[in-house]
């Protein structure tokens, strides 16, 4: 039984038919052709599949696609203009925060959510915000530094 789904993905309204059991992650990857959100555990344990649902980070593997009915979804592909980096992504690049990059789309979602809520997060607050996003490459050091740098840069820009 397929169910009609109306959802705005990265600013673009869509209408699709989805199975009731289809996860938001599978919907995005297989029906929307957006493979930025990663499938790594499908148990809500790693954060690699994170996207923003109405501006807040969720693990897309644990959310049914139909739960996004009438809502806004942002994936890593929607964070910046194609081939360009937003300020947070730029901070990740400059700080060497990405190695293999598999965890990074999810990290960016948690970091985006944090920075929306807290303009000057402490190191501890940054660590807590990304504690649901596992990374096996970086030891988190440069990721924490990059998020801190992005926050500082925002504050400066706002003057």
């Amino acid at each position: 039984m397929k169910i009609p789904l109306r959802v705005t993905v990265n600013g673009v309204p869509r209408e699709d038919l989805v199975e009731a059991r289809t996860s938001l992650l599978t919907y995005l990857r297989e029906q929307c052709d957006l493979t930025g959100a990663k499938r790594a555990c499908e148990e809500g344990e790693c954060g690699c599949c994170s996207v923003l649902l109405d501006g807040t980070q969720v693990t897309a593997c644990l959310v049914f696609a139909i739960e996004a009915q009438g809502r806004h979804v942002t994936t890593v592909e929607g964070l910046s203009e194609p081939q360009l980096l937003n300020a947070l992504q730029q901070a990740f690049a400059e700080n060497g925060a990405s190695q293999c990059g598999f965890c990074i789309p999810g990290m960016l979602m948690s970091a985006t959510t944090l920075l929306e809520r807290n303009g000057s997060p402490s190191e501890a607050e940054i660590r807590r915000a990304i504690s649901g996003n596992l990374c096996r490459c970086t030891g988190y050091d440069r990721i924490v530094a990059a998020i801190g740098a992005a926050a500082a840069q925002r504050r400066n820009a706002k003057g």
Partner: protein, 759 residues
């Protein structure tokens, strides 16, 4: 200070090497554009799924796939019957890709299906009927060695051996030993002899991206496989062997890889996808679930290490024996090579005149262990460096002075008989002591806090590798390699080639191509890429230069030996006015020699130690046994850092993995059944468990690598467990000799000590 000045002078020689530049692939990694194996789009692709053995040890009586085949939407089912009856393996040929006679671990491959949807594929796998006759499992290495143990490979002594393993029969897959001097006699000359056993656990690589691949069977009867593997060439060769086809008929295309750490250096799902694609006549994608990735992975082997160390009154290690028993799992894979390499690197960062290292690699009915970042390194180092501190505590010696006296010097003849060149043990130790202020405020750390030091080595070699550089008409270059970009390889190679040809970074493009297109190369692993592929790229650049200089002989009226390549010109050295533009030479080449293509290659090179010294500060909660790492400092002997930002990143990541091994990670089995095959129960460190990591790079050019560079990925994982164990000892006076040092274990050790029975 002297060192800093030296370091600065070193870096000023170069324009592109030694610079902190972001990875060349960074934009694609940050925008979701990077195409990982599961992201590869192929029209008409089917979903593949494997059937794994639920039993650790059983004879296969019968496999019936008919109920699966009858399910609508199922396009192919494959079993051992679809492959040549041939055992394969990288070290010992001890494995049928699909189990034939027996299954030997939970997760052993029995069959595979391809279907229109994931759900159908899962249902089809459930419908395959396998009748097993259960056999008693070998649950650990000592059980495997015991008389009367069930035998896992009855034909072991008839197997073909292609690597350094030395099978002995029974469950003993390999017995390797190296000796220097006469350790047994030398113990008699010692002031005191210490003996201690250390044990370590099975650790999983837990790369975040599970194994994934897409296989296509082409109309010309060749196979194309897109996959996440650390080496397209070793994988291609392995797949061709399983399928029984020549290597040229398998084309492996490397996808972006979401971490490997050794766990993606072995073929996994690729042959299954290939055989299904051929049978179904449609492309097949297989993605392992996290559960499958645990049970069917290639974790780090658990070690049982017995150390016997004799010391003299003047603080020297005079004699030592190291006996290692390794719990290998069901098949030899990469662990077969480790049995031999352990006997080389286990001498550690020390010079011990009388030494014997013996390793026994034992088959058990568990997942097949293989390479994980510095295979064997942190296990051995945990024993060596815990023992360093135990000996010093018992003798009332200063641990730093002890290490200084016993440190391995450079140009030392190793146990394998080779000469260790460019080894900077003491420089690395001193750099870490300075970085951490080791002695300075140790006393002021506070209650239940302790600081621990460990010094470690990883012996880095280089494997055969080739590289091609094409110089375009405008002087820009394309570099073609066959090495997977695992840890910033393409960025490092860009810097090396830009430096060698004096071409701006944006005019150099480095690609890791498929096996039809790239020159043969090695696995991306073992920290050996710089020494192998880096040198190949350097030599290919030299080859380009030689051709340009030859073309310029008439124009400049000078011999090629007197020329240099600078800023897009070939010039006579010391006479900058006598110059010709490279673009001019390139257009002349069209009418003379033809296109300018450079080729460079390296053969295998011997393994030599790179040193790492770490200092950890921990805080122990004596009630719960919980350990918090509050500060971490790491120094590493890196030769010359081609890209310091990426080298530091490797150190950060290595330390975090080491902290997992030290404190929390353990893949466990009960009676051959995996107990925690998922992130819920197998915990890797999160951002809350790892502190900021302070680093210092010891830069003294190595004779072996391009621009003096050394491999850097493995050493930082090596000293971590010992540094943590030593810090815990200094915090609460308890020495835990088995990894991981979990809160339960530590709490119990503290209780025992309180009752007067402890260390």
């Amino acid at each position: 200070m002297v060192q800093q000045a030296e370091q600065q002078a070193l870096q000023q020689q170069f324009r592109y090497v030694g610079k902190r530049i972001p990875r060349v692939d960074i934009v694609s990694k940050l925008t979701g554009a990077a195409v990982f194996a599961e992201d590869v789009k192929v029209p008409g692709v089917l979903y593949g799924k494997l059937l794994h053995s639920p039993h650790p040890h059983a004879r296969i009586v019968r496999i019936d796939t008919s109920r699966a085949e009858q399910l609508p939407g199922v396009r192919a089912v494959a079993t051992a019957a679809d492959l040549p009856d041939k055992r394969v393996g990288r070290v010992v040929k001890d494995e049928h890709y699909f189990a034939r006679d027996k299954v030997r671990y939970v997760g052993d491959r029995v069959a595979a299906v391809a279907a229109d949807t994931r759900e159908i594929a899962l249902e089809a796998v459930r419908r395959i009927e396998v009748e097993y006759e259960l056999l008693p499992p070998v649950r650990d290495a000592f059980e495997g060695l015991a008389a009367g143990a069930p035998i896992i490979h009855e034909d072991l002594l008839r197997y073909t051996v292609v690597g350094p393993a030395k099978p002995q029969g029974g469950n003993l897959c390999s017995l390797n030993s190296l000796t220097r001097g006469e350790p047994e006699a030398a113990f008699g000359e010692c002031a005191r002899v210490f003996e201690q056993v250390y044990t370590t656990q099975m650790q999983h690589q837990t790369y975040l991206e599970p194994h994934a691949c897409v296989a296509v069977y082409n109309p010309d009867r060749t196979y194309t496989i897109h996959t996440a593997n650390q080496g397209q060439f070793p994988l291609r060769n392995a797949v061709a062997e399983v399928l029984g086809v020549p290597q040229n008929q398998v084309r492996v295309v490397p996808a972006e890889i979401g971490g490997g750490f050794g766990g993606k250096s072995i073929m996994k799902i690729e042959p299954a996808a290939a055989v299904l694609a051929k049978k179904a006549g449609r492309p097949v994608r297989i993605v392992m679930s996290r559960h499958e990735d645990f049970i069917g992975g290639n974790p780090r082997a658990a070690f049982h290490i017995t150390l016997k160390t004799g010391v003299t009154a003047d603080m020297r290690m005079h004699a030592r024996t190291i006996d290692v028993v390794m719990d290998q799992g069901a098949h030899a894979m990469g662990a077969g090579a480790m049995a031999a390499s352990v006997t080389q690197f286990a001498e550690g960062p020390y010079a011990i005149p009388n030494l014997r290292i013996t390793s026994r690699l034992v088959y058990t009915n568990k997942a097949c262990t293989s390479a994980m970042r510095a295979p064997g390194g942190p296990q051995i180092n945990f024993a060596l460096e815990s023992e360093t501190e135990r000996i010093c505590a018992a003798m009332g010696w200063d641990g730093i002075e002890f290490r200084r006296r016993n440190a391995m010097p450079t140009d030392y003849v190793n146990t394998a008989g080779g000469v260790n060149r460019s080894v900077f043990t003491l420089d690395t130790l001193e750099a870490c002591l300075a970085l951490s202020g080791y002695r300075h405020d140790r006393a002021r750390l506070g209650p239940n806090r302790g600081r621990g030091l460990a010094l470690g080595n990883w012996n880095v070699g280089g494997n055969a590798s080739g590289a091609v550089i094409k110089m375009n008409g405008d002087g820009s270059v394309n570099v073609i390699g066959g090495v997977v970009d695992l840890s910033g390889v393409n960025t490092t190679m860009t810097q090396i080639v830009a430096e060698a040809l004096d071409v701006p970074l944006e005019r150099v493009t480095v690609k890791s191509l498929d096996t039809d297109s790239a020159p043969h190369a090695t696995n991306s692993g073992g920290s050996q890429v710089l020494k192998s592929h880096g040198l190949a790229c350097f030599k290919a650049s030299e080859h380009i230069k030689a051709q340009l200089f030859e073309l310029a002989v008439d124009e400049l009226d000078a011999s090629a030996e007197r020329m240099e390549l600078k800023g897009g010109q070939v010039r006579v050295q010391g006479e900058p006015s006598r110059a010709v533009a490279v673009t001019k030479l390139l257009s002349q080449a069209q009418g003379k020699t033809g296109p300018i293509v450079g080729y460079g290659a390296t053969g295998n090179s011997p393994r030599m130690p790179s040193m790492a010294a770490h200092v950890a500060d921990v805080e122990v909660d004596p009630e719960t046994g919980q350990v918090k790492v509050v500060r971490y400092c790491a120094a590493q002997d890196v030769g010359l850092a081609i890209n310091p930002m990426s080298v530091e990143g490797q150190i950060h990541g290595g330390v975090a993995q080491g902290l997992g091994q030290a404190l929390c990670e353990q893949f466990t089995y009960r009676d051959g059944q995996p107990q925690n095959a998922g992130f819920l129960d197998y915990k890797i460190p999160s951002a809350l468990d790892v502190p900021m990591i302070e680093t210092t790079l010891v830069e003294k050019p190595s004779v072996a690598g391009p621009y003096g560079a050394k491999g850097v990925g493995e050493p930082p994982v090596v000293p971590v467990p010992a540094a943590i164990a030593n810090a815990i000892y200094n915090a609460v006076g308890v020495r835990v000799t088995s990894l991981p040092i979990t809160p339960e274990k530590l709490r119990q050790a503290i209780r025992e000590q309180e009752r007067g029975g402890g260390a």
